[in-house]
């Protein structure tokens, strides 16, 4: 297992280096970029040239890249030119990451809490109307563009339920400890801050949860169907075990294996979805920064955030694989 982990981490380093070089080189040959972002429509040819020189953008790309790596080693990934102009990219990431984590956590929580039981019931009642409706429903969940759903939720739910539809928290005086607003409130005892942050989380989390929900639902359903057909379930029945024991120990424990993997894979969908959802809900997380970064061509921020997203994605999947190994003895004992 350890060997496997190390192997994956080394691979990750390779991936990150390759990816950063590719991104870096590509971003550098593009027109626009930092100079035009800094100067805007007031630029003159001279000021452009001067600035290009000053920032060292006229040097060969490899030189620039190694300089970048050198700076990156000290934690300096450049300064934002569009998202939060003037802030360091790393700072932007660090300050926004908790928000996305919080949002993703609630989204995946919703997806699991709804998807797994629903998937189980649908599998148990295979072919019933409940099954059919939920299957088609989950397919629709995949077919709806996330941002459209976000707008609909924002329009309908926020006016009907009075839920806040933008931001992470109202402008209230809350003490920041961890950057997780819901947690901070609990730590400092500012319960209204936690509550306020939670209210702000509901709609974006629901919007973000649809695709993971659909996927988890369908995987659960398929896995339960598979497991129900397995011989060992029949063995369990032949032992006369009670239904709850069979469900828990024999059916769900096995069916959860693919579901766990899927949850890891969903971090990818979550990160992508966060770009759209956070933009719609002006939820100041990494996703929103990416969306604005794309819009305003904030290359330093994009570079760092994309690399971070890659790392997060790979690491989460590694963790999921490892936890998979923990629950699946067939892999653990390897």
């Amino acid at each position: 297992m350890l060997r496997y982990t190390i192997r994956r981490l080394i691979q990750l380093v390779g991936v990150v280096l390759v990816l950063s070089l590719l991104l870096f080189a590509w971003l550098r040959v593009l027109p626009g970029g930092p100079v035009s972002a800094l100067l805007g429509e007031r630029a003159t040819p001279e000021s452009r040239e001067a600035l290009t020189k000053q920032l060292g953008l006229d040097q060969p790309i490899f030189v620039q890249y190694f300089k970048f790596l050198g700076r990156a080693a000290t934690g300096d990934f450049g300064v934002s030119t569009g998202v939060q102009p003037g802030d360091s990219a790393l700072e932007i990431f660090l300050q926004r990451f908790p928000a996305t984590l919080e949002l993703s956590f609630f989204a995946i929580l919703i997806a699991i809490l709804v998807g797994v039981p629903l998937g189980y019931i649908a599998a148990k009642r295979r072919g019933s109307w409940f099954d059919n409706v939920s299957v088609v429903g989950s397919l629709i969940g995949v077919a709806v563009p996330v941002f459209f759903l976000a707008y609909v939720l924002k329009g309908v739910a926020s006016s009907a339920l009075g839920l806040p539809s933008s931001g992470r928290q109202d402008a209230i005086d809350a003490t920041r400890v961890t950057g997780f607003f819901t947690l901070d409130g609990m730590i400092t005892g500012e319960w209204d801050a936690t509550l306020n942050a939670l209210e702000h989380l509901i709609l974006p989390a629901i919007a973000l949860a649809t695709i993971p929900f659909a996927v988890i639902f369908r995987i659960t359903r398929a896995a339960v169907l598979d497991v129900l057909d397995e011989d060992f379930v029949r063995t369990a029945e032949s032992k006369g075990l009670t239904a709850p024991v069979i469900r828990r120990r024999h059916v769900l424990r096995n069916a959860m294996l693919p579901v766990v993997t899927t949850i890891g894979l969903q971090t990818g969908a979550l990160l992508s979805g966060a770009v759209l959802t956070e933009k719609v809900f002006s939820f100041s997380g990494v996703g929103e920064a990416l969306a604005i970064g794309f819009e305003r061509r904030d290359y330093p921020v994009l570079l760092l955030l994309i690399i971070m997203a890659t790392i997060v994605y790979v690491v989460v999947n590694l963790l999921v694989d490892l936890s998979y190994a923990l629950i699946d003895p067939r892999i653990r004992t390897r």
């Binding site: 077919a143 759209l276 994605y313």
Partner: protein
């Protein structure tokens, strides 16, 4: 010889054989879910082919521009000749929705074809040759897969200095390449050790023929199913690109994803401008997904009896 006689009596009806695909089709034909998907897609393709004739007006002509008053947030309302009214630039909205199907189909199909072709080439190389080619291809694929797919598409799209329909298609399709490649490689590798490929080798069939006559056709099933599903994702992802401003900015020839992405500012005041393309996308994506899922089930050996 004992068996000659008995064998002749065996019931083998003389009708022409039914291939796997044909028997899968037989099952599919009776599946209401598949039929729903097929009807949706059929209609979609029909509409997009006939769009130039179905559309009452030129979708690029701002013919109702005099009814557009930004200052009062007025756009041309539904009126005789323009049942859905006009859009923000005074163009006939119905025509745009109808003609939009064309570009949407093109985006979906071309992106899928690009992805499929790339994936086929990579996957076939890896699966057929194995060894270091396989390792190399799979490392490339791993790098591509290390980035969440939509994020990868966003990044690719953002990297073109001049966004266009083509860059959208390219971004969406590049993301699919590793998916197809891996899928194909997986089943090709499985095929490599399967008995019928061994049998062909033992027959002395040439390697190329084995790859193209046995391994590839037998690995294509999941790839084809995947393509149907990718068609759906491609359309949705293209819409997401437009939403982020990474789509095709030139809107003279409309495309649903682009139409949807363009009207985000007026979503609350003119919801119908977003709703029509959105509903179209949802229905079409659902159609492809329904078809893909049922195809997958039909081709799944587990469901064969």
């Amino acid at each position: 010889m004992v068996l000659g006689l008995s064998a002749k009596k065996e019931k083998i009806d003389a009708t022409a054989g039914v291939s796997l695909a044909a028997s899968a089709w037989k099952r599919l034909r009776r599946s209401p879910v598949f039929l729903t998907g097929a009807v949706i897609i059929g209609l979609f393709i029909l509409v997009s082919l006939l769009a130039p004739w179905l559309a009452p007006h030129n979708p690029a002509d701002p013919m109702l521009i005099d009814q557009v008053v930004k200052a009062r947030n007025e756009i041309p309302p539904s009126q005789p000749g323009h049942p859905l009214g006009g859009d923000l630039q005074g163009r006939d909205f119905l025509s745009r929705v109808l003609v939009g199907s064309q570009q949407t189909l093109i985006v979906g199909v071309v992106a899928t074809l690009f992805g499929l072709t790339g994936g086929l080439i990579l996957g076939t190389l890896a699966g057929a040759l194995g060894g270091w080619v396989d390792s190399l291809v799979m490392r490339v694929v791993d790098v591509m897969l290390s980035l969440p797919s939509l994020l990868l598409a966003f990044s690719i799209a953002a990297m073109f200095s001049r966004p266009s329909q083509f860059t959208v298609i390219l971004a969406v399709s590049i993301v699919q390449i590793p998916v197809f490649a891996r899928l194909l490689r997986g089943s090709m590798l499985a095929q490599r050790h399967s008995d019928h490929v061994l049998a062909a080798t033992a027959l002395g069939v040439k390697k190329g023929a084995i790859v193209f006559r046995h391994m590839l056709p037998n690995s294509l099933g999941p790839v084809i199913v995947q393509s149907t599903l990718v068609l759906a994702t491609a359309i949705i992802e293209a819409a997401a690109l437009s939403f982020l401003g990474l789509g095709n900015p030139d809107d003279r020839t409309p495309e649903w994803g682009q139409m949807l992405g363009d009207v985000q500012k007026v979503f609350d005041t003119h919801p119908h401008l977003a709703a029509w393309p959105a509903i179209c996308i949802i229905i079409v994506a659902l159609g492809f997904t329904l078809m893909g899922e049922t195809l997958r089930e039909a081709l799944d050996p587990k469901n064969r009896r």
